[in-house]
């Protein structure tokens, strides 16, 4: 009897979940429309908008720039964030908690305020509209992601392993490299993937601190959306989502494999 009562919430939940996912994927059918305006394909599928996309120097350069920025930001954030997580984990004092709270701020503060802060400081530093400026900004924004994922891994790490390594005479650097890092690898990897996606999708800060020489994919998408009507923009959106989904999928597969290998 209880099972039957449950049908209604279950059905409603699936409607909500479809509301979450289906509209986001509307770019897929629109990108293969055979018309020249935003519409569903009318009978036949056409790849011409993808051809337009890949033969446009502007879109290609935005694609490459986004990839460079996201890749570099992810590396910087992952290294800095992992080091911080390990350091804070060993500290675990009142001061450590305050530092942790400060490092988490970029996640909490609305991106428009972060954008403002970077914009104001990047002008005198000459970082406006440069790779270095955007990578640095995205790295700071992504740092909390890495801190959270690596800290979660560290919470399951037995600190006696570290003591054992040190008491057997390994210097701290060796302990970190050979004992700590291998056991928190899943957290580091998760942090790297999440920070890549964060930078890859990031638009608000990019709107403020990049103008001409660095013009990321979300930035060009933003401009395209405002002019509307060209399905090439939908094709670009498909590329943007597909990359995010591919990164998520890769992460899930590797995480599954990692948990299987530790189970054995």
């Amino acid at each position: 009897m209880k099972k039957r009562r449950f049908h209604l919430p279950l059905a409603l939940t699936w409607i909500v979940l479809l509301f979450l996912i289906v509209p986001s994927l509307v770019a897929f059918p629109v990108s293969v429309t055979n018309q020249n305006y935003l519409s569903f394909p009318d009978g036949e599928i056409s790849w011409k908008h993808f051809e337009n996309l890949f033969s446009s120097p502007e879109w290609i350069s935005s694609f490459v720039q986004s990839a460079i920025v996201a890749f570099c930001s992810s590396i910087v954030a992952t290294i800095a964030g992992s080091l911080c997580a390990v350091g804070l984990w060993r500290l675990s004092s009142q001061l450590g908690e305050i530092v942790r709270a400060i490092l988490l701020l970029p996640l909490i503060i609305p991106s428009i305020i972060s954008a403002m802060a970077f914009y104001r400081l990047w002008i005198p530093l000459g970082l406006i509209d440069s790779y270095a400026g955007l990578i640095l900004a995205h790295s700071i924004l992504a740092l909390p992601m890495v801190l959270i994922t690596v800290s979660a891994s560290l919470a399951n790490f037995d600190f006696r392993l570290e003591q054992a390594s040190r008491s057997l005479g390994a210097p701290m650097f060796t302990t970190i490299r050979r004992v700590i890092i291998p056991s928190i690898q899943p957290g580091i990897f998760a942090g790297a993937v999440f920070s890549f996606i964060l930078s890859w999708d990031e638009i608000v800060v990019a709107l403020f601190i990049s103008k001409f020489s660095v013009f990321t994919l979300p930035r060009r998408l933003w401009n395209g959306m405002r002019e509307n009507t060209d399905p090439t923009v939908a094709a670009a959106a498909v590329i943007l989502i597909t990359t995010t989904l591919a990164a998520m999928l890769a992460y899930n597969l590797l995480a599954k494999r990692a948990s299987r290998s530790t189970a054995q």
């Binding site: 509209p23 390990v86 350091g87 959270i148 959106a237």
Partner: protein, 270 residues
């Protein structure tokens, strides 16, 4: 020794300029509370703040209600279904706000897919205005915010012992009574945490109101960007940013007392 250089870099490159914004709000164009005074004098700013709060409250209400339904069902669904539901939530959590807003624009615009379909089927003769008004902004924001509501609720519901509900039922309470008088009060911390998280995140929304509101629904974030990039008035922008910043940090502090941030996002990492 590991933490120091990174913390110093974040403090210098991020925290310092944010404090500078607070400073600018009382010094630019001239020292004093002139910028804050505008808040009571200017009709535009009053309307702006009111619109922002109204949109955020409505978004919070719908996102948390729908999120509650989803979280509740997930807790009681079979393992296989639950995994699917979680995957969908995570996918939508990670699809960029830009793409999702663009999708809604394609669907709901004047010549969007929904209007075209309804017209060709003959249900309506003139397109319904879904975008360039508050309805469009709300649809986009609620859609984006539901996963943010579900995560804290799930974290909270996971901690509830199902035997409490069995006890209530075995003592003669009906399913509805058990839900209203036992389950709902137990999930109160989750509801509060979810509401605060959604409200905080909505406050700073920029992309969705800018695209789906089409200039008709002006919220604080968009106004700040216009002040900075078009009219270049740092004082007013800094004042609005300071108000937003202080509200967000204050609400975050309250949220943290109900649920540790790590618990919420811990749920999505795993």
């Amino acid at each position: 020794m590991l933490v120091l250089p990174v913390t110093a870099a974040v403090a210098l490159l991020y925290i310092a300029p944010i404090i500078n914004i607070l400073f600018l709000s009382v010094t630019d164009p001239q020292p004093g509370l002139g910028n804050y005074q505008k808040l009571v004098e200017s009709d535009t700013l009053i309307r702006l703040i009111w619109t922002t709060i109204r949109v955020c409250l409505i978004t919070t209400f719908f996102a948390v209600s729908l999120g509650y339904l989803v979280a509740y069902t997930m807790m009681h669904a079979l393992e296989g279904q639950r995994r699917w539901m979680l995957s969908i939530l995570m996918i939508s959590f990670w699809i960029s706000v830009l793409v999702r807003t663009f999708s809604w624009l394609m669907l709901l615009g004047r010549t969007g897919l929904v209007n075209e379909t309804l017209i060709s089927v003959g249900v309506i003769s003139d397109p319904i205005a879904f975008v360039r008004n508050e309805v469009g902004v709300l649809i986009g924001m609620v859609d984006y915010m539901i996963p943010y509501a579900v995560l804290p609720l799930l974290a909270n519901m996971r901690g509830i012992d199902p035997r409490i509900m069995s006890a209530s039922r075995s003592l003669g309470a009906s399913n509805l009574q058990t839900f209203v008088r036992v389950y709902l009060p137990l999930t109160k911390p989750g509801v509060i945490a979810a509401s605060l998280l959604v409200f905080i995140s909505s406050l700073g929304f920029y992309i969705t109101p800018a695209i789906l509101g089409g200039g008709k629904v002006l919220m604080i974030a968009e106004y700040i960007s216009v002040q900075l990039l078009v009219t270049v008035r740092w004082g007013t922008a800094a004042m609005l940013a300071s108000i937003m910043l202080i509200s967000v940090l204050l609400l975050m502090y309250i949220l943290n007392r109900f649920m540790k941030l790590g618990t919420i996002f811990g749920g999505d990492v795993r």
